[in-house]
Symmetry: C2
Subunit: 302 residues, 2 copies
């Protein structure tokens, strides 16, 4: 999976920083997660083929996470997009987008589906044969969800050498990939495990922004390969977390440790800080796994 | 007056071009005209003290003219703005802004006033002792107004030398500035015209975007110092103007000529063109006055 950070700063867009938006490429999908103002320009700047985005996941309706959505929807229209577009986000997102389209007397050239969320429990919001996406209920000032993206177990992988040595016909390959045994013409049964490797392991990416420190999410994100967890503040501003319902880098690291994640990606930095490397330094005092500082334009291949 | 072009391209924001937004500084006011996505970042990039903006004029509710408004309103809130903010624009603008504030559970730290427009006739929308602003009804695909900004006649200017030679006391100065004569102690009447100069001439700036070619606006913009008139297309795309309700550079120049304006500023270029100097070249074949190509970041002092 490949994660492109379009923006990872809190509050207002500035000339040097962008509000939250990321592109997750996973198993052939290109998912957009959050869309602060300027997201469409960031997509162009990073030279992403953004017409490939068919699913957009919005965590909550604070401006720095969705004010760029209407612009992207409009631009898709101007580009005469034909493919369906699905938007997942809190109840209200449909009304605000449709109102703006109505006021501009505009109709999308493509089908636009809204999947409005209201549940306070984790739920599956998207699933196909490759990927499954669940919500991660977060604790913020307004109704907010993170999202857990998980690849599905694929087919078993053929041991071509062994298969050819046994003279197994190609017509059995699909059956073998699905885990079936093969009976040869002489009645010999070839066990699937002898002619296949296990499927590629599943990959899981958890996006958690914005949230107050909440151990309630740990069962959902347990053992994920990569966790993006907001870290709005450094430890010196820990007293601001309760009022604003945000986290410090150390708190993000504690969640990563308790959830036993592989890699922790920090982001959603308050724009009061000039040196974002301090977030990683503070998180390292708590979590010994890999920690990465997100920054606008950063690309992570996992 | 000083005009800063924050963006002057049509349709979608890109890495190299911005949608419509301008700042007009006139007689102590800083007016914002239109606010496409990214306007607040452009304000920062041009190092404008944008908290001085108290009046925002939106021409119409197409995204490239107002999707940046909600972000600016939110940022003013985060900056704990206290001064009143007035927004002028088509009916519907209040609903879309308030809906977004409501969904994010946000309340502005300042008083936010909406002045919704519905009239198809030119009307005064703002007036104080320095400036008067009128609408310029335009012909576009949705309800659209340009805006005419006009300084008011100031006071007469004192001829200090003459006044001091006559020994006129300072207590008469306000009366003289307002046009009054002075009677000296010996009964001599000093005519106002002998001790003052005329007031500074009024300045008028007309903003006209977006619009189909329309001579109906000429009586309103007659003789303005500066006319910004949209020129979405070059002559080769004139066939697109009727469907899209836009203009060519030549048509903008024809309006400038018929209205006898001082300077014509072209803008709202379709992003299909790479060389915007062609707009000026084509306009020059029609209008012999000064023609300027607007470009993002351009500053014009008139």
């Amino acid at each position: 999976m490949k994660l492109t950070i379009l923006g990872c700063y809190a509050a207002t867009p500035r000339t040097i920083t962008n509000p939250t938006s990321q592109v997750l490429e996973m198993n052939g999908h290109m998912f957009l997660i959050d869309a602060g103002e300027g997201t469409q320009v960031q997509l162009r700047r990073r030279k992403l083929k953004f017409q490939r985005i068919n699913h957009i996941f919005i965590s909550h309706l604070h401006g720095d996470h969705f004010y760029g959505l209407i612009g992207l929807i409009s631009t898709f229209m101007l580009l005469n997009r034909q493919a369906d577009l699905h938007v997942y986000g809190p109840k209200g997102i449909k009304e605000v987008i449709l109102l703006q389209l109505r006021l501009s007397n505009s109709f999308t050239s493509y089908k636009l589906y809204f999947h409005e969320l209201t549940s306070k429990e984790s739920e599956i919001v998207f699933e196909d044969d490759k990927v499954i996406v669940r919500t991660i209920p977060l604790d913020h000032r307004v109704y907010t969800n993170g999202y857990l993206f998980e690849t599905k177990h694929g087919e078993r992988r053929l041991r071509i050498g062994a298969i050819e040595d046994l003279g197994i016909d190609r017509c059995y390959y699909q059956k073998i990939k699905r885990g079936g045994n093969v009976t040869l013409d002489d009645g010999t049964v070839i066990e699937n495990k002898d002619i296949t490797y296990d499927p590629e392991p599943t990959e899981r990416y958890a996006f958690c922004s914005d949230t107050y420190y909440s151990e309630a999410i740990i069962p959902i994100i347990k053992d994920v390969n990569v966790l993006y967890h907001e870290s709005t503040f450094l430890d010196s501003e820990e007293h601001n977390t309760q009022r604003t319902k945000h986290c410090t880098a150390k708190q993000a690291a504690k969640i990563a440790k308790l959830a036993n994640v592989g890699t922790l990606v920090l982001g959603h930095y308050s724009t009061r800080y000039n040196d974002i490397t301090l977030f990683k330094k503070e998180a390292e005092t708590v979590f010994s796994g890999t920690i990465l500082n997100a920054d606008d334009g950063a690309i992570f291949n996992f």
